[in-house]
Symmetry: C2
Subunit: 239 residues, 2 copies
DNA sequence: ACCTGAACACCGTTCAAGT
DNA sequence: ACCTGAACACCGTTCAAGT
């Protein structure tokens, strides 16, 4: 119980600056998302539970429902919060291809940085402001390449999908990843050369998890495909 | 309690043919997987729990651990069991492109047929005999196209990944899918034309969930990209 | 009106105690 | 030796009872 004179009007917004922490800070959607993201980064997707968030925030699990619909919606909120770190601003000054690469690469880096986030991206649907911003930037780049809207929409889908999926596999060199990759290595290595000659021959390539290289290969491949497939609109457009 | 004379030696293998079902059939990995798959198809990924399988098999949850390591491994077993339905045999007689399409299309159809299966494919790692068979068939097709091993391995990854991911989104028109797709539609429709002009313009395309068309577009795109990107080996190869 | 402790209906996994 | 009931340590969500 600090004396009242120590308190100032900013405390409600800048809750972290409170010393002692004896006075319980009011709950807010903001604080819940922040704590959930912290848990996700620290403990993975399984570790981010409503109950744990409630405990960390020193309240009961029921209290969270005043700010969040359910676990699924919390997941969506956490994902979009994390996607705030994805870079889209610098993209506008570059060539369409460089811009697209920049956005997708940034997206992938963000997903890889915190384990579990990529899994979230694959599972829950991202329709928050930040995923909209990312999609907008990608559509903008593709539009500058004179790719028709239809192909562009599908390409965005494909690119984001792949980025998330590859991030699940290569992101976060945690115990989780090791546990997942190990059985693959074992199975592929133990494969019978007679029954699976092609797999045997490609063994090394299938296992080489050089994420970065693989990722840029895939990105180039996808872009090449999009360009090839697409019926470019007439060049009459000024931009 | 049927009389003993009604029993025959096949009963242990053909447990289903037992009439009455009063005598408890012995547990087996086989029966566990089958029941789990049934639950997955009927109730989705959440409905497939060890406890529910145990109840369906009229035993306690602990009994399953004699046949299955844990839930993750059961998931892997169920996935591979389901992948048995994927067609790879007919592929050998066709052109490499037709063969590849056939396998990937069959894979996608299987994943889409039972909701939850695609989600399983994205989450758990498939290293069972059936995923090996599928990978082998795909590598074989790509090898016939003279695509180098490195690109081929990555292409297989990319194709399977995309097939699984698109199956999650479009497979199973269950309540689950509707529940997932609805917020996307809402969010994209409500988007501000000023802030997100590109998204606004591509609204229809982003929402048109014509799965089949979209899928073949993506498949063509990926193949075109793979062909473009890849350094074909010299044509000296006889096949 | 707002908040939340306790309860409800589930989980996966372990282990001691049975046969 | 094999099997499993009961227990343990968790879940998400609801709701009645408090303030």
């Amino acid at each position: 119980m600090a004396s009242m004179s120590d308190r100032n009007p900013f405390e409600l917004r800048d809750v972290r600056s409170r010393r002692g922490g004896k006075v319980k800070e009011p709950l807010s959607r903001e604080r819940i998302i922040e704590e959930a993201l912290r848990l996700l980064a620290a403990e993975g997707v399984e570790g981010m539970s409503l109950r744990r968030v409630a405990i960390a925030l020193e309240t009961g699990p029921a209290s969270l429902y005043a700010y969040v619909d359910d676990l699924d919606s919390l997941r969506a909120l956490v994902l979009d919060r994390a996607l705030a770190a994805v870079e889209t601003k610098a993209a506008t000054r570059k060539s369409w291809k460089a811009a697209l690469k920049l956005v997708v690469t940034s997206y992938t880096q963000v997903l890889m940085a915190t384990p579990g986030l990529a899994q979230l991206a694959l599972t829950s649907i991202a329709v928050g402001p930040n995923s909209l911003r990312i999609m907008e930037a990608m559509l903008d780049a593709l539009a500058k390449a004179d790719i028709d809207t239809h192909s562009a929409a599908w390409a965005v889908d494909l690119l984001l999908l792949y980025a998330a999926a590859i991030s699940v596999q290569h992101g976060g060199q945690s115990d989780e990843t090791a546990r997942v990759l190990d059985p693959i290595a074992k199975a592929v290595s133990a494969v019978s050369q007679e029954d699976f000659p092609r797999i045997s021959a490609a063994r090394a390539e299938l296992l080489s998890g050089e994420g970065g290289q693989r990722f840029s290969w895939a990105l180039e491949t996808l872009l090449a495909g999009v360009l090839r497939q697409t019926k470019r609109t007439a060049k009459s457009h000024p931009m």
